[in-house]
């Protein structure tokens, strides 16, 4: 879901980080979808070299991915294969989250790791050699000491999946196979329109990502004894991997240069988002249940994390009571918890249904937790904007998920009939409700109004408003900073003090709002 204000928010970020020129190219790609270099030049009316350089910046920072689309029917006549560029909206928005990513690393790993990931976030992509050089210039210790320290920290990051190999520079996409086209046909029309563009983005990303085996593999050639064997393993595993992806990688690793100088690494956003997602689950449980339940759900997340293949996993892998307990007592606060207490917490966790129990094994219902959190967020907006009566009516419609008649709503929510219509109209006008008119001929009351919450469209609407709100917050920060220069008549300390408070409020609100955006967009 890329909404209008989402694009504006992304473009604002690119403008502040990389300037107007790069932002113009980026906006063009976000609005028009994948384009060739020539097309971008035409649309933006910039020179070819300006566009090229902008694209290089965007690629370096993982905001754009290049790919080649094999056009159908162009096989015979020496197929004209043009590179196309696609903007990666999610990766751009992730840039707002870098402070959060850094916090995660600093909580799990040591300072050296934080510095490394900071460098990767700052520069987008680096080779191990560049990372070492960077560390060298920052410190005065002997080269070997630093090199070892960097490598050690890097391996820690790699093991935690906080870093990954960069995707292939320019994967070749073949035209959709028979299977894919028929699969697409089955999708209803409305979904097709929404998904259409995304499918291409997903396909590009999938084609570019190195195989799982390679993605987190560091090949070191400096220690001949131990690594000779490892290397062979590696090349054999490479042949198993997807051929297309390897072509690109092999061309990278070809030649005399070692991996350290050639292989580019970057921060693995997917892993960071997964960790933030887990953190959100824990916070949600904490909001309504006791510490025991929090410890149990944290342990379950810890135990099943490695089994998660994608970020938007719907359920965790089922765990037996015994294995949950085993994980619980691994943590410090879990050590004084008894077996029975864990059992009781699991019962607690099953209503509201955070955890599903099937045949004595338990799995976390991620989808449900997210759904409930999303409902809470939207309902809270309704309560604040339209009042308590509207809140009850909205909750009724949201939970029934079908059309209800005005009088029925008034009766169930205990709201005066006259007010009911007014409130429903207001909600409908602001796109919170869907309305249908039912005409009955002959009867005395000939028109009934039916109402419904259409979650798909409403959630998108709310997300767009969130992007809008986030955009406004960051614009206001910029405005405050600008204004500060002009307000020289006020005493300095008072000004500085006010600005500090204003920035703190605006920026912390923006970070919190970003959590909500992730809830609707990434989780």
């Amino acid at each position: 879901m890329v909404t209008q204000h989402g694009i504006k928010y992304a473009v604002l970020l690119i403008t502040t980080h990389f300037g107007d020129l790069v932002a113009k190219v980026c906006e063009c790609l976000l609005r028009k979808g994948p384009l060739t270099l020539q097309a971008i030049v035409r649309f933006t009316e910039l020179t070819s070299s300006q566009v090229k350089n902008s694209l290089l910046v965007l690629i370096q920072h993982n905001c754009v991915q290049a790919f080649i689309l094999e056009q159908p029917g162009s096989h015979g006549d020496g197929a004209k294969l043009n590179s196309q560029y696609i903007a990666l909206f999610n990766n751009i928005i992730h840039r707002w989250r870098f402070p959060k990513f850094l916090t995660i690393v600093s909580q799990k790993l040591d300072k050296q790791c934080v510095e490394l990931i900071e460098a990767l976030l700052l520069h987008g992509r680096l080779t191990l050699k560049q990372m070492s050089d960077r560390a060298k210039s920052a410190q005065n210790e002997g080269d070997d000491v630093i090199l070892d320290a960097v490598r050690e920290a890097f391996i820690k990051l790699l093991n935690a999946h906080f870093v990954e190999r960069c995707p292939a520079a320019e994967p070749v996409l073949t035209k959709p196979t028979e299977e894919e086209t028929s699969a697409r046909k089955r999708v209803p029309k409305s979904a097709k329109i929404l998904e259409g563009k995304e499918t291409l983005e997903q396909r590009v990303l999938e084609a570019a990502t190195p195989s799982e085996a390679l993605r987190f593999l560091l090949v070191t050639r400096t220690e001949p004894a131990a690594d000779g064997g490892k290397d062979e393993n590696n090349s054999s595993s490479m042949t198993v991997g997807k051929k297309r992806k390897l072509d690109a990688l092999e061309s990278e690793t070809e030649g005399e240069a070692t991996d350290e100088q050639v292989v580019l690494w970057r921060a693995n956003f997917e892993e960071f988002i997964r960790r933030l997602r887990h953190k959100a689950f824990i916070e949600n449980v904490r909001a309504c249940l006791d510490d025991g339940a929090v410890i149990v759900i944290s342990a379950m997340l810890e135990a099943t994390r490695t089994a998660e293949k994608k970020v938007k996993t719907e359920n965790s892998v089922p765990l037996s009571l015994n294995s949950i307990y085993e994980e619980v007592i691994k943590s410090e606060e879990g050590r004084n918890i008894t077996f029975d207490r864990v059992r009781a917490s699991l019962v607690q966790l099953s209503c509201p249904p955070f955890v599903k129990a099937v045949n004595e094994s338990y799995s976390i219902d991620f989808k449900k937790i997210i759904e409930l959190a999303q409902n809470d967020e939207v309902e809270s907006i309704v309560l604040k904007r339209y009042g308590r009566d509207a809140y009850r009516m909205f909750r009724l419609l949201s939970s029934t998920a079908r059309l209800l008649e005005t009088d029925k709503i008034a009766d169930t929510a205990f709201v005066e009939k006259k007010d009911t219509t007014k409130i429903l109209y207001k909600l409908w006008k602001d796109d919170y409700l869907h309305m249908e008119k039912l005409q009955l001929t002959g009867a005395r009351q000939s028109q009934f109004l039916l109402w419904k919450v259409n979650k798909n469209t409403l959630w998108e609407h709310v997300l767009d408003e969130m992007f809008h709100a986030a955009l406004n917050l960051s614009l206001r920060v910029a405005h405050e900073l600008e204004q500060e220069k002009e307000l020289l008549n006020l005493p300095q300390d008072k000004r500085v003090n006010r600005l500090r408070k204003v920035r703190l409020l605006l920026e912390s609100s923006q970070m919190k709002l970003d959590d909500a955006i992730m809830l609707f967009h990434d989780f």
Binding site: K8, A287, C288, L289, A344, V347, Q348, S350, C351, P352, D376, E377, V378, E379, S380, I381, L383, K384, R385, R388, Y391, R392, M393, R395, L396, D411, T412, A413, F414, V415, E416, K417, V462, E465, M466, H468, A469, L471, N472, L473, L475, R476, H479, E480, N497, R498, K501, V502, L505, L506, S509, K512, L513, D515, A516
Partner: protein
């Protein structure tokens, strides 16, 4: 309820007594109203149904009212309009709105008292079935009128909509031990007391999240984050 006795007694007396004292026109009007039974009829519809001059109908109604043969009731569908019903009938729920209405408007005070009482009973029971709440309310004499299980259900459902209580299905273990598996029961929501605000969401806690003008707001427009009055108030340090 005691009033019910009067009209009923009157009804038995009526055939002889009333027909004598009624004019021909009054009888026509009365018959039409009586024919509508507990639904009654509005003055407007009556004028359409009876082929008499308006002022005559009005006159008849006045005298019928004075003779206690008909009564005026509030119709919740249209409170402004005059609505009449024959004196021997009690207006149907469709006219009065049912037990929760007084004089055609929602008795919010009564409903709120009941809501809070039901919440307290559920809170006391930890997990309660509908029968449990109904019993507890009956025993506590909160309401002078005996409330049916269905009425309690309406109140509890409203508590669910208020997000004060949640509906869960018994799992038969733990706190549900005394309740058959699969039976619907009610539990108070976690950590806050009755009437507490639910957790304020992120959007709801910033000006833009609840801004009525958000759809007109643009970076450089008349309404913009730079000139926003809500922001000004919010950032007033």
């Amino acid at each position: 309820m005691s009033r019910l006795q009067g009209p009923n007694a009157l009804k038995r007396k009526r055939p002889g007594a009333t027909s004598d004292s009624l004019t021909e026109h009054e009888r026509i009007v009365h018959d039409v109203i009586q024919g509508k039974q507990d639904m009654g009829i509005s003055q407007r519809d009556m004028k359409r149904e009876i082929n008499l001059p308006d002022n005559l109908v009005t006159k008849c109604l006045k005298s019928l009212l004075a003779k206690n043969l008909i009564k005026e009731v509030k119709n919740i569908q249209n409170r402004g309009r005059k609505h009449f019903i024959s004196a021997e009938f009690e207006p149907s729920n469709e006219i009065t709105g049912g037990a929760w209405y007084v004089e055609g408007s929602l008795d919010t005070e009564y409903i709120n008292v009941l809501k809070e009482q039901c919440w307290r009973k559920i809170y006391g029971l930890k997990v309660a079935t509908l029968e449990g709440v109904t019993d507890a309310i009956k025993r506590s004499n909160v309401s002078q009128i005996e409330l049916s299980k269905q009425q309690i259900e309406e109140i509890v459902k409203a508590l669910v909509l208020d997000n004060e209580v949640m509906e869960v299905k018994s799992s038969g273990t733990g706190e549900f031990a005394s309740i058959p598996v699969g039976k619907v029961c009610y539990k108070c929501i976690g950590k806050r007391g009755y009437g507490g605000e639910p957790k304020v969401g992120t959007m709801a806690s910033i000006p833009c999240g609840v801004c009525p003008q958000i759809s007109h707001c643009t970076p450089d427009g008349i309404i913009s984050p730079k000139t926003c009055v809500y922001y000004k108030k919010w950032l007033d340090f």
